[in-house]
Symmetry: C2
Subunit: 209 residues, 2 copies
């Protein structure tokens, strides 16, 4: 499969020229972003919660406390909309109306399945660690049975999926190109900074460098 099927619900209605159903593109966006926003209808309100996500093959995973209200709602059968957004740039046009943003966004509709099997939960949590901080797993203490029990891992099938992407310079009205105002894109970059030692690490081991 190289593209997700377009369903009545995943068909992008506004800005169709920006829509994509390409599996590789979707995977790349999901793999690059650290957090997603998970939405569902709860009993007394709509809910949108940020959380770390990770992908393994054609499933998206999130984890959290088994006491999380949204998780309980999802496990009771409410469908989720999970949205992952990477902001890439501020698009500066010659008219205020045509200002825009460059971004890559994935939207998923799916119901949650709870990972029950302990060894599978362990395997998946290890893969999350590998995504967030590669090559660290071998050095840290792994989860004990109580920690594993307190952690719920939810799986979502990547079946009803769409992406929306804007790239490139502003698109202005023909007559506005004559205006003397600068136009272009201001890139927005998310970068990892220099690690900050835990003060208790410094107490015990001195500064890292």
């Amino acid at each position: 499969m190289t593209t997700y099927p377009i369903t009545p619900r995943t068909k992008v209605k506004r800005g169709q020229q920006r829509a994509s159903y390409d599996v590789e593109l979707v995977h790349n966006i999901l793999d690059e972003a650290y957090i997603c926003h998970v939405g569902a209808k709860m009993a007394d309100r709509p809910m949108v919660q940020p959380t770390v996500h990770w992908r393994v093959e054609d499933k998206l995973y999130i984890h959290g406390s088994s006491k999380n209200g949204l998780f309980q709602t999802l496990l009771a059968g409410e469908e989720a909309c999970i949205t992952v957004t990477i902001l890439d740039g501020l698009v500066m046009a010659r008219s205020s109306f045509h200002h825009s943003a460059n971004y890559r966004c994935v939207m998923i509709f799916a119901k949650a399945t709870k990972i029950e099997e302990e060894s599978e939960k362990l395997r998946l949590l290890d893969l999350m660690m590998e995504k967030i901080t590669p090559d660290r797993l071998k050095d840290v203490r792994g989860p004990n049975p109580q920690e594993l029990k307190a952690t719920t891992v939810l799986a979502f099938d990547l079946k009803e999926v769409s992406a929306k992407v804007r790239t490139g310079p502003p698109v202005d009205d023909d007559e506005d190109y004559a205006l003397p105002v600068w136009a272009g894109v201001i890139p927005v970059d998310q970068k990892l900074g220099k690690p900050v030692d835990d003060p208790r690490w410094v107490e015990d081991h001195g500064r890292k460098d």
Copy 2:
């Protein structure tokens, strides 16, 4: 008012030590972030859409096409949950279980009000431009009547609001501090890069520098 009232719906239930209802903190998070995620129950699915937001006094605003399906749902009276998340760091603990993220998040429950008055809409859209790209407004062409008409501006009262914030180093189990693995925080920074000229600007004016 210096804090938002805690309602049954805004009371943070999990991780209460990270909850805040401080108005200034909430405003700062909303003002720093470019995008929010707006969630609501649509007829055939839950929906979470990213969009640019801006704040003026104690209201949050978003804008978009009047044909946007989510906007139509909100204007039909569905309540929104609007979540703004800034990821500040990856928290590296000595056990995999205590790995975490430093973040600042605001969650708002509110119904949308459409800004009908044209001059007020103009004023608000100008304030959005001022937030995203200060001091540019004077140079660009402002919206014409058709553009204004095609743009819907929605207002949300900041009344049912909570923030959740994690800062600082990992918190490990006592016995794990003896482990030899490095622990600390890897900062995540969002930065604006060097502006990229619109190729049509370069054609007409040469490179900016």
